[in-house]
Assembly symmetry: C2
Homo-oligomer: 460 residues x 2
Amino acid sequence: MLDKVLSRLDSNLDNSLEHLFELLRIPSISTDPKYKEDCRKAADWLVNDLKSIGFEASRRDTTGNPMVVAHHPGPTKDAPHVLFYGHYDVQPVDPLNLWEDDPFDPKIKQLNGEKVIAARGAGDDKGQLMTFVEACRAFKKETGTLPIAITILFEGEEESGSPSLQPFLHAHKDELKADYALVCDTSMWDADTPSISIALRGMVSDEIIIHGADRDLHSGHFGGAAANPIQILAKIIAGLHDENGHVTLKGFYDGVEETPEAVLKSWNALNRGPKEFLGPVGLSIPAGEKGRSVLELVWARPTAEVNGISGGYEGEGFKTVIAAKASAKISFRLVHKQDPAKIRKSFRDYVRSQIPADCSVEFKDHGASPAIELAYDSPLVQLAKKALTEEWHKPAILAAMGGSIPIVGDFQSFLGMESLLVGFGLDDDRIHSPNEKYNLKSFHKGQRSWARILTALANK
Amino acid sequence: MLDKVLSRLDSNLDNSLEHLFELLRIPSISTDPKYKEDCRKAADWLVNDLKSIGFEASRRDTTGNPMVVAHHPGPTKDAPHVLFYGHYDVQPVDPLNLWEDDPFDPKIKQLNGEKVIAARGAGDDKGQLMTFVEACRAFKKETGTLPIAITILFEGEEESGSPSLQPFLHAHKDELKADYALVCDTSMWDADTPSISIALRGMVSDEIIIHGADRDLHSGHFGGAAANPIQILAKIIAGLHDENGHVTLKGFYDGVEETPEAVLKSWNALNRGPKEFLGPVGLSIPAGEKGRSVLELVWARPTAEVNGISGGYEGEGFKTVIAAKASAKISFRLVHKQDPAKIRKSFRDYVRSQIPADCSVEFKDHGASPAIELAYDSPLVQLAKKALTEEWHKPAILAAMGGSIPIVGDFQSFLGMESLLVGFGLDDDRIHSPNEKYNLKSFHKGQRSWARILTALANK
């Protein structure tokens, strides 16, 4: 049965590309209200496509862009049941002049000897979500049904902060609950090696604005006597880390666990040291905590990073001013059981303790989410690992991720579901940038990978 | 004799205003090449006016705006000889919509119960330089000559960095050399109290740009492993001062002298403590070096101040980026015998020592000038102090200045001349801002003050 489905995916590739191109031609940019109608169109296109595969599918309007929800009961009443998640909205395309082709006129192109699908959304996330839809279509065509029960949830606001998602999950808990969630919005380890993401760092982001004098001052008249907000800010930032790269905030490491030796060993075996990890971006020396590998630093350790700083005269030339204010955007990546609320409080307490009595500080909360940890050794992960390894002829890597995918936390806390994060993107897909692409091989073997995973779930 | 001259200045005030208004109507903005012809016109106007007083005056063209040079031999061959300096160029007028009146259509207005001359350049520096010219005119009219030998140097590029000034001083050393230089481009202590500026801080300005990765990085993927230029910069800035506010650079205090007790005492008697000095700008606690008065801090102590900082994402919202670079503009105010070149080198050595091996730093030199110290007890200062005190019926203050007037250093180093800095501006004259003004009292009593000072110099 699987063989037939795989054969059909091979022979049907051109057809599946035509489908994808139709979806890619709809400029469903979610951050720009100008494209609201296009987002609706993309949702409708998906509803119709899922109906043609036998799903009971509908567009669900929200105060933002609509959700697409679809259900297929599978072959039998007691079949396993998964929720598949993806998003149909895409990033804006500016600066348009850096694109080699129209971002919404998809094309197959040659790039470094590989065929790629060039278009906005090809890699993030339309191409990825369609790998799953095409696998379903092949099952339906070959067998008249799907191998398991499947609920699909596509959202249209992932690139603009998903404002409607949590309320929607709350309101449709029962409808969306399944045995597992499958998420296709991540990358492979490299072009030949599949990967399952098993840990995601959380994040706390905060902005601080330090106010000194009630106006910009002349540094000749006031220099040496008036508080300088930039210098107060620099001292605060410098004090966030000690000489070993440890974050100094009180209680910061509460809930942080040491990574098991065996896991560290498996990461070390991946041969991604400072040279391989930092070399491509022009660096060579791991910053941050001393005595840990770069993969441990980005996958399993918490951080404090300044993402932006601003104050005083920033133009050409020189102006001898003491600024009235200075500001910084600071984020903390969290791991394991670190508590976002406690960390924000500890940070703000520290900042307040550093402000002179005649100055003041203002904070802006830019959101928070806890870290996510999936079980390395869960049956779901083991099953997917085996299926991926069979397809790619290389053992699938169990990778942590330095970044965050908040939906995974929501599935866990709202719906009590374990998520499986499998994706076929590559680091050079230029998602969020001009000339986004998705390798044709990712699109094709991605479909085959899902066919194998669904089959394995059916036979569990 | 002096009485007659003073009476003439009183009765001639309307006439002297008409003269000043003619000059104020010429929009001699030096930074904007569009006004080059107007700068020439202002120079020609001054040449003609000085000729009418008996000066041998001429316009001296430069590669920028012309100088005006004028000579009067005075009454006898062995008369004392002074060089008077001022500038006829003015600041731009943007934003024009904030002006209550046309900046180049001067008017007498009432402001807080005082008559003021409202126009661009009224206070900086056309009104000030004309106080001296009017004093000369009155002497000429009353006595047929001037009380001492006078050379006048007016420049037209003071508001745009004086690029032609040093070459001109070099080329005309012999012609411009006098016993003393008189400079009228400073302020009074307050509206009723005259002031002589006897020390000016010097300055070294530098910009540093720290480069990390060759592109902006995602802080999720790289945070904790990649160098963060903003954090390196913050550490550098934080390390510039110790916990007592001392600058930590090696050799920074070489050449800094302690201010004599008597001088400190006289400053303390001025009653300008933290409340008076910092209160008006919304501050209350002296920053910088501990254990020193605010006036000592800004008049007699060196500083390190960050004037601007920039890096990463500075817009609305939040972007989890690790910036490829971060930059800061930093200036040092110098006192006494501090060597600008040594301080720049010490600073750059320190910065380089803080840069990780896989990052780099770039420096931009934004200029330097040493501190200027005039003798508190020189006969010239004592004579001027007595003359000013007689005119204003309040003892003239010997004030230091936190800022810099580079010309004074040039007179000292190129022409070996002591300078006397006397001016009649007020802190609220809004020079460089919309609605610039010069108090009519400053214009009138300024003329009378120069008449007294010239008489005192003649009788020395």
